[in-house]
Point group: C2
Chain length 525, copies 2
């Protein structure tokens, strides 16, 4: 596929800018074919205008039409075949097999949203028919449902070039409910982004969607700032660093008309390893944890950057085995040079910290990095917040506690997290309960006897947690509930039947599940 490097503004392309950049081969650092042009402010605004223009028609499309659109996107991404995977692998250094899996997840995600939208109950319809005889005053007829907010800005993430990028969960969930999307492509995989953008645009055309329902611009920080500040943008979806996520939140809060930002900013995802689990299966736990730490060169939001255990012989053996396993893991190339430098700086800070012992140092290789295991004691951990900062990459810090009390104090002092994990075994019941109670106040998801990497896309997932894991813990960025970030309720009071959308008609022609006087039913109301 010949890449063109332009902006995609609806079904048109645009190239007004003069500043260009290349995608780099993540493994070799060499420039890959095609120059990508940085969008001008005029182009960013044109994309947002176009989204706003499309909004009115797009929000009125049927559930079936939008579901079909999402399925066409999935089909289109699959139809790109190996070309997509090859370019993506070159841009990200992620192996083919991982990217094939991620492509499957991305397309599955689109199809899940299609199914959810088609089913129809996502409108959360609530009807209270008029009670003209009620005393002291009659009750009016009230009919409430969710409607899309308007154009949504989506920021592609570097670490999931397919599943959290151009056609990732943010885009899929926004399109599903009728919000046009303007994506800012991640500059580390612009070729992948262009291929996927073109698949989306083609699907929009084939599905008869209004022009402007999807646009994509290339650029850097300023580009994203223009996007978030554009008057037509009504919400923002972002996955990335805490620093960048907070900056976008601040910008959105300062707008003349502030808008919601859902920023998923990652976390250290503490893993608590309880004495019974260590005694029962310390060795396999160490190997499992090493696998989770090193998976994908540690480049996951849910990568376990912290392991907490109580000192014992088993614990010492566990740490030794963890260090060995991480040391034996195949080194990997990171997504970008910038991420590699940050990883080196972050792991270097731990290495040189006076209260940290390096259990496994990792080899310094030219293009790839290997994992690190560090350890410290609970008091040092609690005394210095630098030790709880996320190191993005295959690094984990073991916190050695002298007692159950110290372990609980560590749990009580962690900040907001996407996940926390408890490994328990015989005799750990009371401590498992106690930690659960404490950790639930800090996290979006708590796991037992597993590892946090690997986020299931379904109805029951929660990916998002108290700040700074995400900017609004009331929402998730993964799973079918992700649509609720882009919806708001409207209520019709005493509306004539002919202005009501089909969802709210007394006869329920769509046959969807609704709440009538607080009771769920597919009947009339």
């Amino acid at each position: 596929m010949l890449l063109i490097g332009s902006q995609f503004i609806g079904s048109a392309t645009s190239r007004l800018g003069v500043e260009a950049f290349s995608a780099l081969n993540a493994a070799t650092g060499e420039a890959l074919p095609t120059d990508f042009f940085v969008a001008t402010k005029e182009e960013v605004d044109a994309a947002c205008d176009s989204a706003q223009q499309a909004f009115s028609a797009f929000k009125s499309t049927s559930n079936e039409a939008r579901a079909h659109f999402l399925e066409l996107i999935a089909d289109g991404i699959e139809a790109l075949g190996d070309v997509l995977i090859e370019r993506c692998s070159a841009e990200t250094a992620l192996p083919t097999i991982r990217l094939e899996g991620e492509r499957g997840r991305t397309c599955n995600q689109l199809r899940i949203f299609a199914k959810v939208i088609r089913e129809g109950s996502w409108r959360d319809v609530r009807i209270e028919p008029a009670l003209p005889e009620r005393e002291p005053i009659p009750r009016p007829d009230l009919r409430r449902m969710l409607v899309p907010l308007g154009p949504v800005a989506v920021f592609g993430a570097s670490n999931f070039p397919l599943a959290f990028s151009v056609a990732g969960g943010d885009t899929a969930s926004a399109l599903a409910v009728g919000c046009p999307v303007v994506v800012k492509a991640h500059p580390a995989h612009p070729g992948t982004s262009e291929m996927v953008a073109r698949a989306i645009i083609k699907a929009a055309v084939c599905a008869g969607m209004p022009d402007g329902v999807f646009s994509m611009v290339h650029g850097h920080i300023e580009t994203g700032e223009w996007l978030v500040q554009n008057q037509f943008i009504q919400a923002v979806g972002f996955t990335g660093s805490q620093h960048a996520g907070r900056a976008l939140c601040n910008l959105a809060a300062k707008r003349p008309s502030p808008i919601p930002v859902f920023a998923e900013m990652g976390s250290v995802n503490p893993v608590f390893i309880l004495p019974g689990a260590l005694a029962e299966r310390g060795e396999s736990l160490a190997e499992g944890l090493a696998g989770s730490v090193c998976m994908g060169v540690g480049q996951f939001c849910t990568n376990p950057g912290l392991a907490v255990a109580i000192r014992s012989d088993e614990q010492q053996a566990f740490v030794n085995r963890l260090a060995e396993s991480v040391a034996l893991a195949t080194p990997g190339t990171m997504l970008t040079r910038g991420i590699k430098s940050s990883y080196q700086a972050g792991s270097g800070r731990l290495k040189s910290h006076p209260a940290v012992y390096t259990e496994s140092e990792g080899n310094e290789l030219e293009t790839s990095v290997s994992g690190c295991v560090f350890s410290t004691d609970a008091n040092s951990f609690l005394a210095d917040e630098v030790l709880s900062a996320e190191v993005f990459g295959p690094s984990t810090l073991v916190v050695n506690c002298n007692s159950v009390e110290e372990m609980c104090e560590v749990a009580a002092n962690i900040e907001g997290q996407l996940t926390a994990t408890i490994h328990h075994g015989p005799g750990d019941d009371a401590l498992t309960k106690r930690l659960t109670e404490c950790l639930l106040g800090k996290v979006g998801r708590v796991l037992y006897n597993g590892f946090p990497t690997g986020v299931e896309v379904g109805h029951a997932m929660q990916h998002g947690g108290p700040y700074p894991a995400s900017s609004d813990s009331r929402f998730t960025s993964v799973g079918s509930a992700a649509i609720f970030r882009w919806l708001r309720p409207v209520c019709y009071q005493n509306a004539p039947e002919d202005v009501l959308p089909p969802e709210l008609l007394k006869s329920n022609p769509l046959g969807i599940m609704r709440q009538i006087n607080g009771e769920r039913t597919t009947g009339e109301g």
Copy 2:
């Protein structure tokens, strides 16, 4: 009842401050008995500490226990009897009959939340049981439900001293789901606030709720700022002016750990009066609108401050009749001297505006105010945003349009609103549809052939709209859905049964409606 004027920190009272203020008789300006002390920062922090201390136990109370607590609050408020109404009437100049109605609404609201909580489906439980045989990887067991955010700060509003104040919808919805509440009492009705606070505290003690589940502090702007900045406060509920609401949002966004603020900031609630409605019932519409404008001395968030009509003989007769009816309405005393001054300034700005004609000037009386009716043309309205600013009080501006197109242009240019209203009659079907489509993008609630004052408390209400009507249009501050402002999802992955809350157990011991693999059922899962 002897008022004490202290802070209420859980079940204790505190009086560390030296600055005191009196409640004023709103009609006479004379000081009412009891000095109220402004809380010190120490006291505000103590209230928040106490809320945080209570949170762990409070969130674990049963639905039944919290429902009973809410009902005891309602009983306690009713048991205050005439003493409450008399004090409240003196502090606010609101008539007894209105306050009795508002008390009924406040207690009804508490009982509705009790019912919703008891029923149990508010947890929005979503379960996806493990699929160990799934290929290529097994699905873990996922169980998700909503949990309370933590301590909530509530700001009492001046204009509903009962229904949007100490035990109003914000407090009721937060307590319902297990969030402790710290109220900042509105300084215009501190005696009313104390009486209601004591009823809540008594109910908390009788219901065996943990101490600290409710606190109330007195004070001014700085007091509220301390509250919003306190590290334990996890969300804010506010009803009041746009200026104050935005200031709280800005403050919350700048915290080291930002928190959500639901600020309901009012709006001008445009009423569109279509030609067919004017022809059919112009006179009764004028009288109905005059009644809505003057009701409660115009001191409602949903007061109709804007009426839009197309020039015609009927429209001229309508405006004349509106002006007459407003002029004939009994003058009323406003809630505070400050509100009266603002009303005079706001209506004065319209009076002196070169493009505004004064249809009914209102009499200037010593303590009370009467209503004003102004008119302008659509072009002038569109050209100067001062004409669309809210004037809190019994004032309305008629916008005269030369055509349907101008009316639609006015609709297209209004900012976010709590409500918009369309009065339609024979021959108005097409315009009703067109305006509906346009207005739905701007409002939380659209009404037909009615008046926006009077907000039904039920399952289907939406009170909140696009900015600046409220700070987050995705939520409502009135009705049973108001609880979702204070809840966030948590997901348990592969949790042992003995750490799961009853809502998530396979056997569904609470018998609540849950989603199992996306299907709603009260069965096992």
